[in-house]
Subunit: 454 residues, 3 copies
Amino acid sequence: MNEIVQQLYDRVTSLPLVCPHTHVDPRMFADPDFRFDNPAELLLIPDHYLFRMLYSQGISLERLGIPRVDGGEVERDPRKVWQLFADNFHLFRGTPSAWWLQQQLRSVFGIEEKLASESAQDIYDRIAACLAAPEFQPRRLYERFNIEVLCTTDSATDPLEQHQAICASGWKGRILPTFRPDGVVDLSASDWRRNIEALGRITGIDIGGYRAFVAAIEDRRAFFKQMGAVATDQATLTAHTEELSEAEAETLFQRALRGVATPADAARFTGHMLMEMARMSIEDGLVMQLHVGVYRNHNPLIFERFGVDKGADIPIRCEFTEDLRPLLSECGNDSRLTLIVFTLDESTYARELAPLAGHYPALKLGAPWWFHDSPNGMRRYREQVTETAGLYNTAGFNDDARVFTSIPARHDLARRVDAEWLAGLVERGIVDRGEAAEMIEDTAYRLAKRAYRL
Amino acid sequence: MNEIVQQLYDRVTSLPLVCPHTHVDPRMFADPDFRFDNPAELLLIPDHYLFRMLYSQGISLERLGIPRVDGGEVERDPRKVWQLFADNFHLFRGTPSAWWLQQQLRSVFGIEEKLASESAQDIYDRIAACLAAPEFQPRRLYERFNIEVLCTTDSATDPLEQHQAICASGWKGRILPTFRPDGVVDLSASDWRRNIEALGRITGIDIGGYRAFVAAIEDRRAFFKQMGAVATDQATLTAHTEELSEAEAETLFQRALRGVATPADAARFTGHMLMEMARMSIEDGLVMQLHVGVYRNHNPLIFERFGVDKGADIPIRCEFTEDLRPLLSECGNDSRLTLIVFTLDESTYARELAPLAGHYPALKLGAPWWFHDSPNGMRRYREQVTETAGLYNTAGFNDDARVFTSIPARHDLARRVDAEWLAGLVERGIVDRGEAAEMIEDTAYRLAKRAYRL
Amino acid sequence: MNEIVQQLYDRVTSLPLVCPHTHVDPRMFADPDFRFDNPAELLLIPDHYLFRMLYSQGISLERLGIPRVDGGEVERDPRKVWQLFADNFHLFRGTPSAWWLQQQLRSVFGIEEKLASESAQDIYDRIAACLAAPEFQPRRLYERFNIEVLCTTDSATDPLEQHQAICASGWKGRILPTFRPDGVVDLSASDWRRNIEALGRITGIDIGGYRAFVAAIEDRRAFFKQMGAVATDQATLTAHTEELSEAEAETLFQRALRGVATPADAARFTGHMLMEMARMSIEDGLVMQLHVGVYRNHNPLIFERFGVDKGADIPIRCEFTEDLRPLLSECGNDSRLTLIVFTLDESTYARELAPLAGHYPALKLGAPWWFHDSPNGMRRYREQVTETAGLYNTAGFNDDARVFTSIPARHDLARRVDAEWLAGLVERGIVDRGEAAEMIEDTAYRLAKRAYRL
């Protein structure tokens, strides 16, 4: 690191971690005695970034201990799984996964050794020893990691019992739910009718039609908000938005109830519900997150055998300028709305999203997502977004973590990359040191707090 | 700057500025006593790069003094507008707008201070004092800026009175019109029929049909050329080109006259007229500029209240390989034609435009446009275009300026970026110092002159 | 070069060259007394990278000695052609073509001078003198270049006489054919029926229908494999794959036999044959190469006058996530298949191809192709692919050479670029020196051998 990079990085190393978007299980904070099972269960099994790479080289998911949908035989010995992972750790050279893992070993578990075939069992033992110690309980780690707030992602029908338990426990950690209604909004989801029934049960509303459905959504939003939620989140295949008349919405909803909705129906209904969600956000103040453009469960064999989130989700090309226009025409000028958009199609950064975010008061651009949450990915994002949207139309960093102990490493990597980026701007005379100093604090801490109203 | 960058940059700092494409108002050169009103009117109000960013953060255009279509109340005190701008100048950190503005303050007005809340009124006073001085009249600045030639952009029906006055005045500055026929070519423009009437009036041709329309276009081209024009310019949503039979063209034209042309009709007619314009260029030698891929007036609220060019124009994805084929098949092998294409879809640089420009004699690739006329944007252009198209199939720099006093800063930034780029090529052994020295002069001066036949 | 770059580069300079994909003519190795004609015939005439650039600046292909389809008059004096090339060599500044040419002059012919108008004839003489010497016979150069294996590209109906002659000669050079069936698979090819007849003749199979066609393909694959082939290659406009029933395939095939197949028929049949070829590869072990997304013969004037491969092939936008899904669903989990995909649409690197290659065991990502086989192109590939796919889901370098003597320069450039890239990873702490050392050997040598099973 050169001197400017170091200075910028040093300014933010002790700032708290703001985690507005994670996939961490709240259960670990609800139970004060929660312990992580073992190194493989903690670090590998929940991380599809990792096991998909091993799979791509011909290592079966069964050998990696990934549970099968049918309960079929998979490797049960976490030491064997860990050894297999370590034997193939060279596959991750040059990927952020390798960096995060080594940094995690170092900063969380005090292990400086490189993960490799020879060191695998020793590292396993040392992590396992840590996990058995009380200071590695999640609540203790939350405090040690200097986390200020952590938002989970929760389905619309989730009773939020874990969050209630956390509140009731008196623990001061701030674990907030996020309202994710995909399961009840997507008419084409295989379990949609089951989800609607669950939604009816939990709200006590008889969801016989569209109007009752909207009422149930509003009911749940109110409950999530009461439980501390600051945001909603939706993941859609495209950014298509469209205003349906109530009659049209009702027709589509009824078709879905009868099990005869087409994919086109589902796409239109989702586009309409994005507009509804935006209007609800204007009313209740929940920040609206939108993740666009993933072909989920691309590999039918993996989906049938292992279910969702198994590393077989593949991005597709996206369009925002035309697709978001109905929503932005209706709600984009309203500063009460904060719509944070995430994409995996980097060609839209400079072409569509930065110009849109550089104009509409309601729109902010989310952090580089998923595959792009990496040194080059974050660098491309800064270089392609900032010149048009500025820094202050971006929503700051979020770690999107599935593995709780990876959170500090993820924030640390982002802070390093931003320090390098800003030092480059200083060196080229584009910003001065004073500006860079404020900007690094913005990217590391303030922007996320402000965008998510935390 | 390292030594090679400095050396390259120094070679071109005193070269004249060639400005083949601007949106500067020729009125300022027609009247020898023209004075700019005040700092806000000069620097902020015409620059939608600036006020759109303030708008994106919830500052209303009314408060920024942007005139309303309906003449409704807006801020009239330029000092208040300037203060509001300065109070929010941090929003531009890392954008070229900030760099251009500070460089303008420095090199045009001799102000070294940073624009900020505290310095706003002092800077306002100092600029205002400059603007009152005779040496800040546009003609004097033109000379001081070392401008060699400056092309304006003028509608097909413009009588070019300002240009005539400039000619008649005997002043030696070279201010040339550019023929921009969008208003009469785009059948879907809301004011199309009014424009056609104006075209009829100014040419004395009764435009009752397609053939008369083409004759009127040719008439105006001849007049523009006689007034010194070297180029035409068209802005289209897509690069679609298509040869219509005269009967088909006539049908579409008649439908438009009757007010029943569809958007599809308009798209086909535009595609056809691109081919016609190319043929006319082969005959009269006017260079043909084509700007592709902007969704104009994306925000209906802003359009209704403030009209066009208010920072709400958003790029869309483009296609050139198939869309330009009819035109290039017909005219692309003819060296008498120079077609300069501009895009906001950077994904087409390396994929489509560089291969096309690296093959067809008639095609040149225009400078990085609009949002991409920035340090990273210009760098990406060089890196993605040069390896395939070479330098000599590009059309050199143009500043695309709306604010006259920003012109030197815009050229200066481009020259710095090119010096850095070329120094990088020298350091990696890709070109030698002698080649880089010629190349920087080409990019800063010669390429634009050659491409625009100036 | 800094010290880390130098160290990494030095590790691989003496590694053999693995050339799994070239367009070199096997004739030069079949005849032990083969001599190259003259410098223009060797270096310029076969290289459409070069003459297209001259053409783009208005120099006719006739003056460059490119043979006309109709046998019409073209420049026959290679010295004049060479002089014209040299007079315009500045057009290649900043392109890899210039670098390759100068490096070739230096390392193959011992010429340090820069090619320019003044030096042209002297350089011509010196190259010509070399070409007359026995040590410049292709077999001797193959050995001097330290080539380990070189694969040619050969049509499905090629009798492989040259390869047979090479085998029969006892020479130890390893020149392997590659099975390229485009001419018989693409129903829309103008010479398709002629190719089918040739396929019938060479296999002795009466190709009256689809089933016989598949049998003939299988027959040829077996013959190519017997002749040492390790791979097939297909070039398609899109990546569309689709499973047809045998009845549907038969219908399309019959329509083509009757000369009434539509472009849509051809597209579907090609998509189906990609799946068939994948299945055959699972059976016979031939690696499957797929080059996607080029609009061939974009310029009708050039095509009519000079034929194919004349620098008028232009890339188009590509899609892989949806298009490859049928094939990958069927065969992507099978490690017996190696499918190597090449694209000219760089926007698919990070968005689609790296995530696909980072998941499916059968998929590898091919080297940066054609226009992107350049310093920036290779750099963009590494930066956009590696973080998601890792290094080990890429297929290593291939030189794609048309000019035999350019092969060492092409490998050398790739090795330099990779050394720079890896040094950057070391400097940023992403890999350590030991990892980088292994990775440079992988990229320079091992990955290609492994991917192509050589």
